[in-house]
């Protein structure tokens, strides 16, 4: 630390993007990642992917439906959300995002409904919990391949645009060197996909498909690939920062390289990624553990970027200290979002039980 200058008076700027934002970026990332995982089994009909894709689609739905609530809560004027549509500002990625989110969610809901109609009808026929509701939702239970493909295409476009805007929105902030690197959107996307694999592994663990080692191995293979890609991207980030090839990376690195807390965080992130990769590649049967590790990394990456990034003053010396408040702007917000997530999961799995989705009961989509 340079003690030649000691800041004796300055102000603390509080974080403007609260843990609500972390929750949003985490959930929307998991959602579009899980949606992409749903494509091989449901759209491409790749053998062995049916159960994985249905579980992933459930994850995409649960995360996709809860994410916008967290986003809305991060606005300090949530009642004015309609201003996004009344005052479109094409120069702002956030403004575009307000249109990409409904495109993605609309496509996702339609795609999921078309994919799950036969399962809902089966649930209604077999007289499970809320069978009447399932019958109603199935609306005949017919399968329409062309409609499914059309909805999948709309959702895919929406998912890609959401992935683009969530990365670009943060990347363009030149005032925060840690955010202003072209690799940030790539890192967001990779950790989102890895987290989605983790979530699918988690769902698989709690379904009757637990002992289906082929499913776990298949997912572990995808997870290992994402972890390797994340490590390579991280290495590229570091090399560009250390070598000075890219001034923006050098500036980002210079901001935190000397800070012990950031060094520990970096070591933790690399360690967790290496461990997840090693377990996924060498012991692919450890489904629950690698799933949780991947989810942890996806959350940690976003927490570090958003909360950690806002702890770095733009002009002042040292760091702003952040302590997680216990109220809605902190812990309660995170717990509340998690509660909403669980509620939606319970609601959906009542008419679409995990066992049925995993393909161990009833028939596939």
């Amino acid at each position: 630390m340079n003690t030649a200058i000691v800041e004796t008076i300055n102000v603390t700027r509080e974080v403007a993007w609260l843990p609500w934002a972390v929750s949003y970026f985490f959930l929307i990332g998991l959602s579009y990642g899980a949606f992409l995982l749903s494509l091989p089994g449901i759209v491409l009909r790749r053998p062995g992917w049916e159960g994985i894709s249905r579980l992933a689609l459930l994850g995409a739905l649960v995360c996709g439906l809860s994410a916008p609530v967290a986003l809305l809560a991060d606005l300090h004027q949530p009642g004015r959300f309609w201003h996004f549509y009344a005052y479109f500002s094409p120069g702002s990625w956030m403004s575009w995002g307000a249109f990409f989110i409904p495109l993605y969610l609309g496509g996702l809901l339609l795609y999921a409904w078309l994919a799950f109609r036969p399962l809902l009808a089966a649930h209604g026929r077999e007289g499970g919990r809320l069978a009447g509701v399932a019958r109603l939702l199935a609306y005949g239970g017919l399968e329409s391949r062309s409609a499914l493909l059309g909805a999948a295409l709309a959702a895919l476009l929406g998912a890609l645009l959401v992935a683009l805007y969530t990365g670009a929105e943060v990347m363009v902030v030149r005032a925060r060197p840690l955010w202003h690197t072209p690799l940030l959107p790539v890192q967001f996307a990779l950790t989102a996909l890895a987290g989605a694999v983790g979530l699918t592994l988690l769902f698989n663990r709690f379904s009757a498909g637990t002992r289906d080692t082929a499913t776990i191995r298949r997912l572990a293979g995808v997870l290992a690939a994402t972890q390797l890609a994340a490590l390579l991207t991280g290495a590229l980030w570091l090399v560009m920062g250390l070598s000075g090839l890219a001034p923006v990376h050098a500036e980002a690195l210079a901001q935190v390289a000397d800070l012990p807390g950031w060094r520990l965080t970096a070591a933790w992130a690399v360690g967790a990624t290496v461990l997840t990769w090693a377990l996924a590649a060498l012991r692919p049967g450890s489904g629950l553990l690698i799933g949780l590790l991947a989810l942890h990394s996806a959350w940690m990456m976003r927490w570090t970027v958003f909360i950690g990034g806002q702890e770095v003053p733009k002009t002042g010396a040292g760091l702003y200290s952040y302590q997680l408040p216990l109220g809605p702007e902190g812990l309660l917000g995170i717990v509340g979002t998690a509660g909403l997530w669980v509620f939606i999961l319970v609601l959906l799995t009542t008419v679409l039980p995990l066992d049925r989705l995993a393909g161990t009961r009833g028939h596939g989509a």
Binding site: T8, V11, T12, L75, R80, H83, T315
Partner: protein
Amino acid sequence: MKSDPSTRACSPTGVSRRNFLRGIPVLTAAAALPAPAVAASADTPHWGMLVDIRRCIGCQACTMACIQENAMPEGSFRTVVSTYSVALADSAQPAGTYVLPRLCNHCDKPPCVPVCPVGATFKRGDGVVLVDAERCVGCGYCVQACPYDARFINHDTNKADKCTFCAHRLEAGLLPACVETCVGGARVFGDLNDPQGELRRRLDAAGVETKVLKPEQRTAPQVFYIGLEERFAGKVVGQGSLWKPRASHA
């Protein structure tokens, strides 16, 4: 007297403050040096500020005046005088004090404006960057985009907040509160388009000594400094604050 804000502002009385100010002798000798930043049109005012750090005594009278004038919530500041203790190598004293008044730079290329998703933040024709409180959704994107940490979310209004150059006072033909109260005469406010105004003349006289914060950001700040040391122009490398007031919202 050090400023002339209302020359072309809408003064309800119709009295030109510039005429009043012109009658007062100024001490600064005007040297014909290149202008550091000039507004587009000479027909309209383009408000700017010069902070002469050599004159600042770090009394925080500007900080307090701003808080009172703009009813800032506890722990929120539109301006502050950042104060540093600096080790001295070539002096009998072990350390000296460096002060740096900070506020919104009312940039000519404000990065806070394009990111706003609802067009609530904008740059007015007279150069003042403002927030339309009726439109702001409190998303905080502008807070992130500002390279000077000049913006924050006001916990009383739940909207983006920042220095307005006391726009309401300008309209009434008054100086910004921080300028009015500055004990050492360190803050000079005025119309950058007015070649006879004190601000313009002081800037021209200072020439290359005039600097801005974070020039590499290419935001074209309209708050200029005399006496700004290089190591304080960007993010200061040193030990963190000993005293940082924090908003106490629950």
